[in-house]
Symmetry: C5
Subunit: 258 residues, 5 copies
């Protein structure tokens, strides 16, 4: 369920509706060219400078995934698959899993099992799978860090925009009828910076970090399962151990169905 | 004792009473529609976007538990149970504990002891119990993180509301009789954001984190006890070790009763 | 030497004296009922809600200890005791220490030595002593965390008080003769919040953390000594190792006296 | 691709263009002598005082590298080299790599392989290579810390400059025609401090940290390869393990070319 | 080279010169008795209360060392000494180093080698040296923490001073000719607090932390050398390992001279 997309829309609509209530036309909050240049483009430049080019070009894909992507596969299904494999491996030997490889659509589990089937050393299998998880976390971290950096820079460029707006206005203290509008204009930059950070970029960064942690945990469960299968452990014990990764309600569902 | 509920009420009543003293009708602080939209709903959207949907739907249960839930069972009772089991296991063997399993109402201790009775490898028992504790911490962390995220977003949406209010007001510098009321209205958003964070959400997040740490510590004590029972350690040494988990006053009470 | 008590008094007196210099009667800074309600009581509520009740009721004892308590026993004395015990244990055996137990007034050292004398496994002695130190740190941390939480909440309730004060004042822009006094009153809440945090609660939290670290280090030294005695190490080597815990000046004093 | 240089220019141009839009001549933002003295030179002094002299004199080289330097060598190339060496070492023995040393232009890989060829103990090779990576990180950290310290000091000196500017202006409240210009001048220091931090120094510090992490990761991959070659591991397994360091797209490219 | 002293002077002179440019007599910034009482003395009280008395009385010595002290001995010299000792120990035995002890002026290296010569267990030597490094870090940390605490308290007492100044001024809104001067006076406290923190105390704290890390690293190098000598390692390998602690330029110099 796209909680992130819904949340971002709620934050935007609530803010603009509140603005309308106050009698401030929402359009003027998002169409001030100077504010957009300083806050949106300025903070983009600072963020871009903080990373290698690939991070900036790749962040849009990550934002799409965070807002529109599907949730990871439920853990119960994965546990069932692993326990089935454990039973088969125990009764017919590890090589019997070879025939299952073709239907398997989780590349991470596939890679680990294939290494086990090929007779690699258990330590080597663990090493490859751990490096894989660590490398995945590093890749995910780039996009989350990018959004967070933008979310940190945006309010500071909002201050820069407000300060410049105030400097522009304070030069005209002798025309008080323009003063109010000038200060109001200066505050639009503040609004843009704070909203871009807290209504868009920081929620995205939070969500990306959570998604990454969840995918890493799912893979750790798979790794623990694959290593247990290779070690020829009791399928019942494997199931018991892997179920610790489930939430109590999921575990309850699973026990009932068992 | 529901310290959290009492504390939240104290913070709210003290703030509204102080407001009344200043001559500000508390009602206007919490009924400004624009401020509520921007601060409460806007920050809710940003928080919701930071998490998977389940975190948002599940947070109310966690808030209820933090405000109304009972304190964890005292450690002395748990230690006595474990030491009794240790004595029985030492004199009659681990299998003798099978008969105790039915009355045991702590599912965590039950699971660990059952694995030990079933003859699982000590390392496997430790592994399952550790994974269990770790998974519990991860689950608890979601709700605490949710409240903390709300507590971080709320003041920033308070700033957004204030800035929008100021923009609305500054356009009317030529009507000074409205100016004061306009700025006062803008500050209501600031009030809401800061109070929602520091008077509600951050205390809740703090409390949830402490509760989680206490439950984890209680389970670590149980784990240490179960593993010591399985290892056939001296019940006297087990008691001595587990008592380190008690506060000095609890340990004193226990020694007196011994 | 009660550096904490002296420091707190210095901070308070300097602030009130400076206030007097500016022509602000210090009495008005600390007798504003609305500010006291919002800042002192409001922040107390938020802090109370962050912890279990026992943390709030027990914090006063910890504050008294931090402000009035004696400094921990100097390390040199403890080292001398341990080295004496090591010599005796080496020449007459561990059991010979039994007779020393009665005069020993450090319950932590006593507990460790008693376990060693009783013939416990060295790993078990280390385990009990480590758990003890860890549990002590956890207990100390509660009071320090409580003061720090108060110190973080206080300035935010100071902002709440100031905002409410400004709302009260801005409704009377048409009575400029009251404006100045109104804003001044609003700032009293800011003063209270910032001073309560930085002049009282955060210094207390810092001090509690340092006291806890010092006590933990003292106990680690005792633990290292007890384990070395149990291991039958050379008293000279034990002395050399334990002296690493002393400051260079203390170690110099000790070497001169040797 | 010099993303950092482009990003810094984008931030600067967008800010100055936005300033122009507001009617503030960009020249006055960067030519206020008092603001430059207080903010740029004052923060430079504070940063310089935070480090040994070598850190300050060496930071310009690091800034040039971060803005103009080339990206690290792609990982695929390095993996291919290592796998070729592994094949040769396996069929002809480690000594056969001696002849390859001359063409090798990566001093880190060269040093590790030479130690392996010379018959050093595998633990010693690992130790030297790890110390090397750790020392490189420490060296890189100095420049990143320097830029970050400047980025933290600059806005605070911006506040100092603004406060001094306000003090200068407020002494002339009786000449309202100068008031606006005075306050505007005071805000130039704020602008300089915030921009110098967020538009220059903090992006540079971020970039330096990322470059360092990337170089460290590249070296860790080389270390893992060298140790595997010395251990006589299967070249196929080495390739598989090292590929975990690649991004999925790079790994895809590599698999296609295989 | 006293980079810290130079940096502190640069920050002070640049700030006062910039102040002069603005037309603010630098003398009034540093001679406001109320501001000095509240900011300098108030923050001193809060800092003092945060530590045991010895930390406050000992901090001046640490400040002198950070501003005037000499840089640590270059690493090359230490490596040469250690490698010479390693050669001698290898050809003539560890006891042959006894005669070198008298000229050795590094007490840390002396202590480690003496233990090795006396035939202590290698683990015991490592233990003593590690405890020594750890204890040194703890001692250094006190002074750095003290300066940092002052640097954190100072701006908050600057806010307290400004708020009190504003309260004093706002009571006289009816005498506008005094208003400007009153607000200007209030801001002097802000200036003092921010400058004392960012122009003095935080740079000192940074510098102390770096000095401590450098001394710790130098000692770790010595420890690694001493343990390698005791272990009878090849002097050439010892040199190679220890050179990883040098910067590339130092290592280059060393290789050229070899």
């Amino acid at each position: 369920m796209p909680a992130t997309l819904v949340g971002l829309i709620v934050a935007l609509v609530a803010t603009l509706a509140g603005s309308n209530f106050k009698g401030v036309n929402p359009v003027i909050l998002v169409t001030n060219v100077a504010a957009i240049l300083i806050v949106c483009v300025g903070a983009l430049g600072a963020t871009m400078a903080s990373f290698e080019l690939k991070a900036t070009t790749g962040v849009f894909k990550a934002i799409l995934k965070a807002t529109l992507g599907k949730d990871p596969k439920p853990g119960i299904e994965t546990i069932n698959t692993l326990v089935d494999f454990a039973r088969k491996a125990r009764s017919e030997g590890l090589l019997a899993l070879e025939s299952e490889m073709a239907q398997l659509d989780d590349p991470f589990m596939k890679r680990g099992l294939q290494l086990a089937i090929d007779g690699s050393d258990p330590d080597a299998v663990a090493q490859v799978m751990k490096t894989d998880i660590k490398a995945m976390k590093v890749r995910h971290k780039v996009a989350a860090d990018w959004c967070q950096a933008y979310g940190i820079f945006a309010p500071t460029f909002g201050i820069i925009g407000a300060v410049i707006g105030l400097i522009a206005t304070l030069g005209k203290l002798d025309k008080p009828e323009q003063l109010g509008h000038g200060i109001a204009g200066a505050f639009v930059a503040t609004f843009l910076g704070v909203f871009l950070a807290n209504g868009v970029m920081l929620p995205l960064a939070n969500r990306m970090k959570r998604l990454s942690a969840q995918e890493a945990q799912a893979r750790e469960m798979v790794m623990e399962g694959v290593l247990a299968i290779q070690g020829g452990q009791n399928p019942r014990v494997i199931e018991e151990t892997l179920m610790s990764y489930l939430s109590p309600s999921e575990a309850g569902t699973m026990r009932e169905n068992a």
